[in-house]
């Protein structure tokens, strides 16, 4: 009674918190790496000419780059806190047992700090968009 064959791609592995936090760690790590790359370049401009440096940095002062900055802060914070969790998993004897609770602690801390950061970081954008 064989019927309806559909595309032959395999299913996505249904891993749990551990797998997805690893994916997030790698994605945020790569993001941070590219930011660092760009950051070294734009900072190096100051050696070329302080004026060009000011011009380039000036172009960052708009809501789109502001959102990217918020994303960057979020990425770095997740990466750093989850990095500490991974160190605990490898070096604290009870780390593997509590890895899930550690992840929720990471996510909770991340959410609280992000909420706190949002206002001071986005003041300018909020003002421009909503006139706050």
């Amino acid at each position: 009674m064989a019927s309806g064959a559909k595309g032959a791609r395999g299913t996505l592995y249904r891993g749990r918190e551990g797998m997805w936090s690893w994916v997030a760690q790698r994605v945020t790590g790569v993001l941070v790496f590219f930011f660092l790359f760009a950051h070294v370049l734009d900072t190096a401009l100051v050696r070329v000419s302080p004026h060009t440096y000011d011009q380039v940095i000036g172009t960052y002062k708009n809501p789109v780059v502001n959102l990217l900055e918020v994303g960057l802060v979020g990425a770095i914070m997740f990466h750093a806190f989850n990095g500490l969790r991974l160190i605990a998993v490898d070096f604290w004897s009870k780390g593997p047992k509590y890895q899930r609770q550690l992840l929720w602690a990471v996510v909770g801390l991340w959410a609280v700090l992000m909420l706190g950061f949002l206002e001071p970081m986005m003041q300018h954008t909020f003002h421009e968009w909503f006139g706050w």
């Binding site: 019927s3 032959a8 592995y13 891993g15 551990g18 690893w22 070096f91 593997p96």
Partner: protein, 257 residues
């Protein structure tokens, strides 16, 4: 006796009589016949299934009643031999331990070979690379010095130290659930490390350093990214990520405790 009752129920339900409510499920199998197919394909089968029976029973039904060419491994059918690890509904499990009712049977249940080992036919993969990694960690007692005249005595505490990793049945569910192994087939993989752990932390064994050195390889224990997929997949409930972390720590401190 409760065991007898369960047996009775399965017997009645298989004949479709009395008590148990049978249901029609769709089993979606990823099939590949190297002699006919250029690529794997998904094939759907409708089977009558007892929700409290295992997905292995449904695979049997398909093979025996619908398509004899369906190929898979199984031997004990009771979670002991480690023959029938498969990716069922996206997760590695033993087909003989996965109950239909736990697999959301209202939707098609997907069954595909474990990932990262060459597929030979349908659900059968070439296990040789897996067993090679197992052999490479010398999974046998190595003891120097005089042979004792009676058994090698060990305290209960010393025996408990590695009890968890003695439970492995070499089903490969862990190694083939590991994202690192999928992209790097040279990685020793969780199962080999589990079986090294079993001897590294055995007080009767004298070759801990030798095994640690083997796992210090660039394809050894440092490849582990602690995704916990192995621990979640192990049908014996072995705390694999923890065992791997213990081997990592033993390598750093050069102390086996």
């Amino acid at each position: 006796m409760s065991t007898a009752t369960v047996q009775d129920k399965v017997a009645t339900s298989a004949s479709g009589r009395a008590g148990i409510e049978m249901m029609t499920i769709t089993v979606r199998v990823k099939r590949f016949n190297p002699e006919l197919d250029s690529a794997p394909r998904w094939v759907d089968y409708q089977v009558e299934a007892d929700p409290t029976a295992r997905i292995l029973d449904s695979l049997h039904k398909i093979k025996w009643e619908q398509d004899g060419s369906l190929t898979f491994r199984r031997s004990c059918a009771h979670g002991v031999c480690g023959s029938d690890a498969m990716r069922i509904n996206g997760k590695n499990r033993l087909a003989c331990k996965a109950l239909v009712k736990d697999l959301n049977p209202n939707k098609p249940i997907t069954v595909e070979p474990i990932q990262g080992l060459p597929v030979l036919k349908d659900l059968v993969v070439d296990m040789e690379p897996f067993f090679q990694a197992y052999r490479d960690v010398k999974p046998f007692l190595i003891a120097h010095g005089n042979e004792p005249t009676r058994e090698r005595v060990q305290s209960q505490t010393d025996r408990d130290r590695f009890d968890d990793t003695t439970k492995c049945i070499l089903c490969a569910a862990c190694t083939t659930s590991c994202p690192v192994f999928w992209t790097d087939g040279q990685y020793f993989g969780p199962a080999a490390i589990v079986n090294a752990h079993r001897f590294i932390f055995d007080s009767r064994d004298d070759a801990a350093d030798e095994r640690l050195e083997i796992l210090n390889d660039r394809e050894g224990v440092w490849r582990c990214r602690t995704t916990f997929n192995c621990t979640e997949a192990c049908p014996r409930g072995i705390q694999i990520t923890q065992a791997i972390a213990e081997v990592k720590r033993a390598l750093i401190t050069r102390r086996v405790i």
